[in-house]
Structure formats: structure tokens, C-alpha cells
């Protein structure tokens, strides 16, 4: 049962207030119509599913209802960093 620091509420809350919302940095393509079927499938279905430190989205469902970014180890479940959208993107995420 994770304890997650909501970057908006600025408080640690129990996992049962949050919902996971998938891998981070999967941007919706600007112009889907211009993509090949492979590229589109890659966006819709394919995931990195990283073993190790993993950037993902969570939403504070029962709290402020904000989506935010979490870097969490998928091996130890340790949360390494939380951040709001905008603060971090796929470029400067480490």
C-alpha cells in the first residue's frame, strides 16, 4: 500500500485515494491521420513497461482529482520523485 505525495495537496496520502493512470510521456500524436497504422498502434497499444525506475501517471481520485507524474521503481516500489505536468516532460525526465 503506497504512500503517495500529492504534488498539489502537498501531503502524503494512502494509495486508496489514488488511481494509477498508465505509463507517462505517451503523448497523443498531433496529427493522427498522418500516421501509419504501425505508428498509430504504437501509440495506442505498445508500452515500454520498464523494469526499474518508471515514470507513470497517477490521479488523486479522491482528493484534488489532479493527474500528476510519479517516478517509481517497479522493482522495489519505492517512489523516487513526484512532479506535476509541465514541471517535467519526456525530455528532462531522468
Amino acid at each position: 500500500m503506497f504512500l503517495i505525495d500529492c504534488p498539489y495537496c502537498k501531503e502524503s496520502r494512502d494509495q486508496n485515494e489514488f488511481s494509477p493512470a498508465g505509463e507517462a510521456f505517451i503523448a497523443r500524436p498531433q496529427n493522427p491521420e498522418a500516421l501509419s497504422d504501425e505508428e498509430w498502434a504504437d501509440y495506442v497499444f505498445y508500452r515500454t513497461n520498464h523494469k526499474g525506475d518508471h515514470w507513470e501517471q497517477w490521479v488523486h481520485t479522491a482528493g484534488c482529482r489532479k493527474y500528476f507524474l510519479v517516478k517509481r521503481s517497479t522493482i522495489s516500489h519505492e517512489i523516487i520523485q513526484v512532479s506535476t505536468f509541465g514541471e517535467i516532460d519526456s525530455e528532462n525526465a531522468s
Partner: protein, 194 residues
């Protein structure tokens, strides 16, 4: 026939009305009393990214100062403003106050919106030193230590979303109408075993 119908005064039924006792108590026992506070209006104020806009809107419309994270502010006539998220504030008004405000809504600045959610929530007030113990049966939030006077948080109660705040000696919990039976059921059941 039709005429006489319309003369009937509309009957307002408060959220917890079906589950409270004849005296209006949900729970009434040693060290713990829970009653509904009804008749308030609840407006959801959504704000733009520009904070000056927001501050001004809050001031103009409600004569309220916007609170910071997990706080509430108090305004005229016992009105309150709660922080829900960086762009969402709930304004709790005394009943008669709402009409007055509706007039001003037309002139909302861009990026600011208000929706009326008065019917969506019921408010329970808890007093007595068993309050924390009771709520801890169903809430993962650290109410005892973290919910100090003036603090306001949205969290869960069992599987229901709720909003709680502490004001002076009392703890208040806002519950969505459709979850009120469920929440009342949990509260009454747990109160038996404090």
C-alpha cells in the same frame, strides 16, 4: 385542481433526513454526537490559470479570500471557502445568500466558472471526543494529527468520496447525496463499537 397544486409549498428534504432519528440525530451517544447541518448552498468555483482574475472574482462575488492548499477561509455571514485543488474551490453559503449571488454570476471573468452543487452534498457535524476514533474505522486519512482546526481535505470514507474539515470543536463531513445511506450505515454501525 392545477391551481391548488401550485400553492403547495415545495418540500425540501435534506440529504440525511431519511436516516436520522426524530430529533435529527444520526448518532447520539456518550462522547459522540452526529447531526446534519442542512440548508447551506454549495457552489463550485473553478478558476483560471491567472491568479489575479481568481482573487478578484472571489472578492467581487463572494467577498472571500481564496484559501491555500487544504485550508478554508471564512467570509461574511458564516460563509466558507475550501481549497479543493489549485483551480477548484468550494464555497459554502448560508441558504438565503445564494440568490443574491446568482445575479452576479453573469459577469464572471473568463476562465472562471461556477456550478451549483447544493443538492449534491449533505453535511454532517461531529462533536465529542470519540469522533476521531469513529472516523478512523473507515478513513485512511490521519484525521487525529493532520486535520487541525481550519484544515479541509477531500478523501474517502469506506468507498465513498467525502470532504472533511474541522472548525473549532467540530468536525464536518460532506457526503455525496447518493452515498448518504451508505455512509450513514457505516457510521451508525461503527458507533456501536467505540
Amino acid at each position: 385542481m392545477s391551481k391548488s397544486k401550485n400553492e403547495i409549498e415545495p418540500i425540501f428534504r435534506s440529504t440525511f433526513d431519511p436516516v436520522t432519528d426524530g430529533d435529527g440525530f444520526l448518532i447520539n451517544q456518550k462522547n459522540l454526537i452526529s447531526q446534519e447541518v442542512s440548508g447551506n448552498s454549495l457552489l463550485v468555483l473553478r478558476t483560471s490559470k491567472s491568479s489575479t482574475n481568481n482573487t478578484k472574482a472571489a472578492k467581487d462575488i463572494f467577498n472571500l479570500k481564496l484559501p491555500g492548499a487544504l485550508e478554508m477561509t471564512n467570509g461574511d455571514n458564516d460563509s466558507k471557502c475550501f481549497w479543493i485543488s489549485p483551480d477548484e474551490f468550494w464555497v459554502l453559503l448560508k441558504p438565503n445568500h445564494k440568490m443574491e449571488i446568482e445575479g452576479k454570476l453573469a459577469s464572471l471573468p473568463t476562465g472562471v466558472s461556477i456550478s451549483d452543487n447544493s443538492g449534491a452534498y449533505g453535511i454532517l457535524e461531529f462533536t465529542g471526543d470519540q469522533t476521531n476514533n469513529l472516523l478512523a474505522r473507515w478513513m485512511s486519512y490521519d484525521i487525529e494529527d493532520s486535520l487541525k482546526d481550519g484544515k479541509a481535505v477531500s478523501t474517502t470514507f469506506g468507498q465513498a468520496p467525502v470532504f472533511v474539515y474541522r472548525h473549532k470543536q467540530s468536525l464536518f463531513m460532506m457526503v455525496r447525496h447518493s452515498f448518504s445511506h451508505y455512509v450513514a450505515g457505516l457510521l451508525k454501525d461503527s458507533a456501536k463499537r467505540l
